[in-house]
Each structure stands twice: as C-alpha cells, then as structure tokens.
C-alpha cells in the first residue's frame, strides 16, 4: 500500500449507507494504521454521529470559501453591465440599480471586472466551518460544514483535505456527499481507491452507474459494497454480476441498525450481523489495496 493512502466512499444516491460504512471502516483500520477520517458530505455531515461522537468538538473554525460583490451605489450609474455579465442570473436591476440574490451568487467576480465605474468590490464571506476532534478511537475526525444558504461546498471539501495533510496519517477515509457534483468531484481528487456503496433498488443502481462515470473519469480503481442486499435478491445478484468481481461484500437489511444509531451506538460496538459483514468487507478491502 502506498504511503498516505486515500480512500473515498461515494454512492450517487443518498441514504444507502456511506457514513455507516465509512465510520465502521475507520474504526477497523485504526487498529492497523494511523487513520484520519474526513466528513466530506459538507451539506449533511453525519459521520460524527455514526462514530458516536456527540460531545463537543476540539476546534471549530470558520472559513471563507466564496466571495460576494458589494455595490457602491454612489459610484454606480446603473448601466446594468454587471447583471448582463452574471452567468448565474444573480444580479437583477431594480429601478436602475443592481441587486444581488446572494443565494445563487457564485462569487466569481465577473460583475466586478465589467463594472466601468469600479462600483463593485468582491469581499470574502464566511460560508463554511471546519470542525475537528480526536475521536474516542484515537484517530482524528475532520468534518466540513457548509452553512445553509452559502455556496462553495466543493471548496470546503478541498479545504478539509488540505487540513488533513497537517496530520501524520497512513490512511485517509473520505466520506463523500451523494450526487455527482462539485463536492463529490472534490472528494475524488487525488484518492487512491474508491468504495462505491449501493443498495438493490433501481434508483440506487442507476445512481451508482452515474457515480461510476465520474470515478472512471478520474481513472480510479474501485470496489463495491451492496447494502441491504436481501431486500431484492434478484437485483442484488444483477448488480453483483455487473461489478465484474469488484464486490467487497454485502450488508444485510436490519431495522436494529436504526435503533443502534438512535442511541448513538456505532455499528462496531453492537452485536448486529452488519458488524461481522463489515469486517468481511474490511478484510477483502485490506487485501485489495495492498498492491496499490
């Protein structure tokens, strides 16, 4: 295994078990390697909960991941070039003056560049938080948080990955967002291996294939985990076959997982079947990444 090995956990569809698996693998790997866990699902960060970490964070830092334009209405002559230049339609001219819709502004700065009166200045705004703590399993957890209404989720992911480089780690686990957009792309950058998580439903399978398109774009090796395998055995086997030998293992559907997490108990501290199943996945994964 390469030094400073990075694994990203992605899925396309949400709620298929990324964080459950990430948290459990982090605990298992931490017995073997110096692990660092990253919650890169910055607009729905739940990895801490899955690790049973509900207490205070060691450190919370606000960061700026985007800028917003500020208009000097004394200088503005109402020409409207700023509104025309905005590819996101975030500026509207209302009675001759530009008004910003901050929720869709990307902070790109096009308006500032085109303004002939130099009436626009771009200023950084705090849109993200980086929360860190040493978990009770004695590995650090870095969690990225996008403040509601702010943009720049991909940049928060890049930022927490940069932050992680300050630590002496051997293995980094990155729990990504659902979807295939900017936070997922940022999660996948520079990783050595990808774990794709899915469940045997047509939706999850469809999203899995879309996620794989992005993974393949980066040319990354990957393995597959089928969660809730038993809810549809036919489709489960079909996905299994589709993966062409890349499957790392299955996890069974179990309502007790709900109960365990509702009392903040990590799966690895239960006696549930999922615990043994994840151990099997861990063993196969450890073997698979040895030669990467």
């Amino acid at each position: 295994m390469k030094k400073k090995f990075k694994i990203a956990i992605v899925s396309g569809k949400g709620g298929v078990g990324k964080s459950m698996l990430s948290s459990s693998l982090a605990i298992l790997f931490s017995k073997k390697y110096k692990v660092i866990a990253l919650d890169a699902d910055v607009d729905a960060p739940n990895l801490a909960i899955w690790l049973g970490e509900i207490g205070k964070w060691d450190k919370i830092e606000e960061i700026s991941v985007s800028s917003k334009p500020f208009f000097d209405y004394k200088k503005c002559d109402g020409c409207g070039k700023c509104a025309d230049s905005c590819q996101f339609n975030a500026i509207k001219m209302i009675s001759g003056k530009p008004h910003l819709n901050p929720f869709i502004c990307e902070g790109c700065g096009a308006c500032e560049i085109v303004c002939p009166q130099k009436a626009i200045s771009l200023k950084p705004v705090n849109g993200g938080k980086i929360k860190t703590k040493n978990t009770k399993y004695n590995f650090p957890l870095i969690s990225g948080h996008l403040m509601p209404g702010e943009t720049g989720s991909g940049k928060i992911v890049s930022e927490i990955k940069k932050r992680a480089e300050r630590y002496k780690y051997e293995l980094m686990l990155i729990d990504s967002s659902p979807g295939t957009g900017c936070p997922v792309i940022a999660s996948l950058q520079d990783v050595n291996f990808v774990i794709l998580v899915t469940e045997p439903t047509p939706s999850a399978f469809s999203d899995l294939k879309r996620a794989l398109e992005v993974v393949n774009y980066f040319g990354l090796p990957w393995g597959l985990v089928i969660n809730k395998k038993d809810i549809n055995k036919t489709l489960g086997s079909k996905i299994d076959k589709w993966s062409n030998g890349r499957k790392l293992g299955d996890i069974s559907y179990d309502q007790n997982i709900f109960k365990a997490i509702a009392s903040f108990k990590p799966i690895m501290e239960t006696d549930l079947r999922a615990k043994e199943e994840i151990k099997t996945i861990f063993n196969k994964l450890s073997f698979n990444i040895k030669n990467i």
Partner: protein, 283 residues
Amino acid sequence: MKKGKIRKIAISGGKGGTGKSTFSVLLANKLIKEGHKVALVDVDVECPNDYLLLNQKLRKIEKFVYAKFPKLDKRKCRKCGLCVKSCKSNAIFQAPDRYPIFLQELCSACGVCQLICPYNAIHTKRVKTGKIFATCVKKNLWLVTGQAKAGLEETGPVVAQVKKFALDFAKKKDIDTLLFDTAAGVHCPVIQALIGIDFAYAVTEPTPMGAYDLELLLSLSQKLKIRTKVILNQANLGNKKFIEKVVSKYKTQIVNTIPYSKNLAKAYSNGQLLDFKYNLKLK
C-alpha cells in the same frame, strides 16, 4: 387559489435516502385524485430517479441545457497568467511558459477568464451540460426530468433551466401544480430548486442524522422565506424525539408520518408506486 396561477411545491429534506421521491409520487397521486393537473419535476439533476419510481423511460429529449465553457485561442494568448489568477474555481492550470489548460470538470462556466483576458484570447464554446425529458405518465400527471451531465461541476444552473422549462410546460399543458423533487443536502442545486417556491415539504427520518440534516434544511428555507412542513418517513423505526425537537425549534409541524412498510418498499423498487394504495393525509 387564483385561477391561472401555477402552484409550486418543493419536496426536500436534507439527508439523502429519506424518501423524498417516494413522498413526491404519493403526493402527486393524491393531487391528481383531487382533480389537479400535476407535473412532477425531478430537479435532483445529479441523480434523478422519479422516472424509475413511475416506471417510465427517459427517451424523448425535450431540450438540452448548455453552458459556455472557455476555449483558448493560442494565436492570441501571451501566457500572461491573468486568467489563472482570476479563476475562483481553480479550473485553469498553467505550467511556467506554457499555455494555460482549462479543466472543464472544475469550471463553473462563470466567464471571468474571458472577461479578464487582455488579449481576447479566450472564447467560449457551448457545451451540453444537461438534458430535459418530459413524459405524460397518466391522465393529468406529467413527469419532467432534469439530468446533468455526469461529472458536471456546477449543477445549480441546470436546475434553474429545468425549472424554467417546467413552468413553460405547465402553461402549455394547463397544469396547475408543479412538484419539485430536489436533491439531498443544502448546496447550490438545492438552493436553486427552492428559490421562488410557494411552499415546501421536508421529508426526514427519525434518526439523529435525519434531525441534524433537517435542521440545516429548515434553516435554509427560513433564510429563503419558504414555509416548510415536515414529513416523517419510516416513522416507527428509530426515535421520533430527535425530529420533534428540531420541528419545535423551527416552529413548524410534522404534517404526516409514513410508517415503514415492506409493501411500500417493494412498490418503490418495482416502479409501481402509483398503483400503491396509500391514503396520504396531510394535516
């Protein structure tokens, strides 16, 4: 409701996999039974699934979505590097004394590099970033699906285009209610989906994760001034009190609870959700 006005309802929730799409279909079914003409609009453009739940195929493309990406004219470029410095997405890379390289997978298509280039060396090319599909599912029910190109960095603008298309479509077909099924989370594609909406439902589950992400979503809809009510799915599993706490903090209410049901899960999985007998009552 005023005649001619199209009602816009969003279905969101924060956490992924809580049942947004399932609830959207159940709600659509309820509304058509009440005599409404409904279009379900799938604005989870990175991972649209409503068509699978409705047993439809994405066949006929109604419209393509485009964005303008930068393209370098090497004859004019003097390798000054201003474009690299101006790019907030870090999507332009330049090795010393080389031409800049534009990385489309990181590019938000904002156009800043083109504006800043002193030599007019950056042009744009129109690139397809998404597709819009529309099908008539049954009498008085349409499905509009937005699908972003896999690996597209900035999917918010695709959502905006899909919404615009849906609104025009509704006018053409005399549709009175648009249901927008959003992506998970609270980032750009969700914000874009929620803007200009009359009312929203947040679908969640009774777990600490569900509650945490619901709070983020309710905080967003509060900022956007969108009245949002909560739907509690898989209500009999986990623990309801997590959700109740958030709901009371944001002074909203749980208007429906959906218990976990194997049959519902099966109907979901088989694309038979429309035929699933479910009496959806909303407080």
